[in-house]
Symmetry: C2
Subunit: 319 residues, 2 copies
């Protein structure tokens, strides 16, 4: 769940007075989401989402995230549209945080992703990549390969609390990944965190892509690899190649993958597994007392990493 | 937050097919609530709340809770109305749980209760007590005085981990409370958990009373005492007698308190503080690994208990 910051009625009323979206009708914390505080806000004119940005989000990045969302929404992508205050600002202070109101998107995120979901997701990811091309500002991927060694460094002295020899094994795996990391692949704006709980479906279509706060400018195929990790493993950590084939088919119906991108998929998938493994490991070892979010098991991604390390080529993903 | 049980799209669709309330438009976990899993459900016909009852709720009690809600809603109280399936059932299985759909109530719960909130709350509590009188079935208060000694017993061997000498002190306090506990006061159905996050306000009125899953048949004045504890202490645990006076004024505008009820307020308030102290202490000592809810500090209620133990008479509450 995620409600870290409480908003008093007075503060909410004063905040809403900045906008031309009517008065408050209801205001409920939303359980989903990990990084920020999210509220379902109903006003006399409709449904909205109110997000308060918490400490893990750099305020300097917020205009980029909201600019990208505005751009993608204008391109017809089903992503939340930031609502501007009467001043024109889409970021305003609330309860000691910076906050934004965005449009409410209908739909339900899939608790059990099917092959059909994966194909639709692949298509939506490609459309995201293409639609982002007109948005000029760039954002470096803070959780891209340059970020992994420093993150592992912070976990090394206690990594073996999670599993015997984990520290040594991750150091070796990371060295391999960084050595094989591609130098040059087609790049642009990527979502970088398009897990099932960030994708809403309605009536057999994707109705919402949300949570843009890890988005960055990086290899498109890395985003594909994130989705392979997020959508194509079963609960027992077996890899469902029918799902990955559907995901890639959906993607390639809108944007072809180059030979270099295809060949890089195994190392990109290892890198993506490493990225989620490391942030989870860090959270696991540094669980805050009074945390509202239960840390996720880092070893889920250790298992994915091992799968990708053992594949011989992109054929393992159904290509 | 509270989402303990995930519901797949397929299960949700099949569940909704039992009702005549349209198809799903959105389905989001709600952060508020502690005992059950709650989802905001939007269908093609409107907004609803879907609740899955978790293990702390006895399924045998559910027809009583929902019957009381139906009765109170019919009396014009702003409480959720259980929606009946086409079969007539208001309780149906979902995702391995028993689940109910109720109407959505507008409003916002007050993060900072004011004197005005307290007066409105008192009035709503009295109306709740009066409106419940036509509902014949009774439910024993499992967390009433008979439940406290067994609960303390389960915590005694580790209570001193929370505070030095806490076990001995609570044993003595509980003996006093049980000795002074009134034998006979006006009784009926009480909410028993009417904390600020269970009360919605809109446009200066109470728009919703929710979360009936501790409701029981017990002394009305005990419910008043619960509200004194829940609404009239400041963050520094000082007691705000202006708030308690407003709460009691609001209550007595609809239902007079008898002399016996007034005289019993100090011990009822001690008992109510003990009840929340004990359940919190139990949860604190038995925090489940992977718990989605951070246990609340039991000592918040130790401080309230001490306040009520030191009051000379009901005059301390502004009577």
């Amino acid at each position: 769940m995620a409600v870290y910051t409480e908003v008093t009625d007075e503060a909410l009323t004063a905040f809403l007075a900045l906008f031309d979206i009517g008065g408050v009708v209801a205001f409920r914390g939303i359980a989903e989401g990990v990084e920020n505080s999210n509220y379902a806000l109903k006003t006399t004119t409709g449904d909205f989402i109110l997000t308060l940005y918490e400490k893990r989000v750099d305020p300097a990045d917020l205009p980029w995230f909201l600019g990208l969302m505005e751009h993608l929404a204008a391109q017809g992508l089903p992503c939340p549209l930031p609502v501007r205050a009467m001043s024109g600002a889409n970021l305003n202070p609330l309860a000691g945080r910076i906050a934004a109101i965005t449009t409410f998107l209908p739909g339900v995120w899939p608790r059990r992703a099917t092959v059909e979901h994966c194909e639709l997701l692949g298509a939506a990811l490609a459309r995201f990549h293409l639609a982002g091309q007109g948005f000029a500002p760039v954002r470096e991927n803070a959780l891209g390969p340059e970020g992994w060694a420093p993150l592992l460094e912070k976990c090394l002295d206690r990594a073996d609390e999670v599993m015997a020899n984990l520290g040594t094994e991750l150091s070796g795996a990371l060295q391999n990944i960084l050595r094989e990391w591609p130098k040059d692949l087609p790049s642009g704006h990527i979502h970088a965190d398009l897990f099932p709980d960030n994708v809403f479906f309605l009536d057999g279509k994707i109705s919402g892509l949300i949570d843009f706060y890890f988005a960055a400018t990086d290899f498109y195929a890395y985003d594909v690899a994130v989705c392979l990790n997020a959508w194509c493993f079963e609960r027992d950590f077996s890899f469902n190649v029918t799902k990955s084939r559907a995901l890639l088919r959906g993607y390639m119906a809108h944007r072809a993958l180059t030979a270099a991108e295809r060949a890089a998929l195994p190392v990109l998938a290892q890198g993506s597994a490493m990225r989620f493994l490391l942030t989870r490991l860090y959270d696991w070892l540094n669980e805050a007392q009074g945390a509202l979010v239960t840390p996720k098991d880092p070893l889920d991604y250790y298992r994915r990493l091992r799968f990708h390390r053992d594949v011989a080529s992109e054929a393992a993903y159904g290509l």
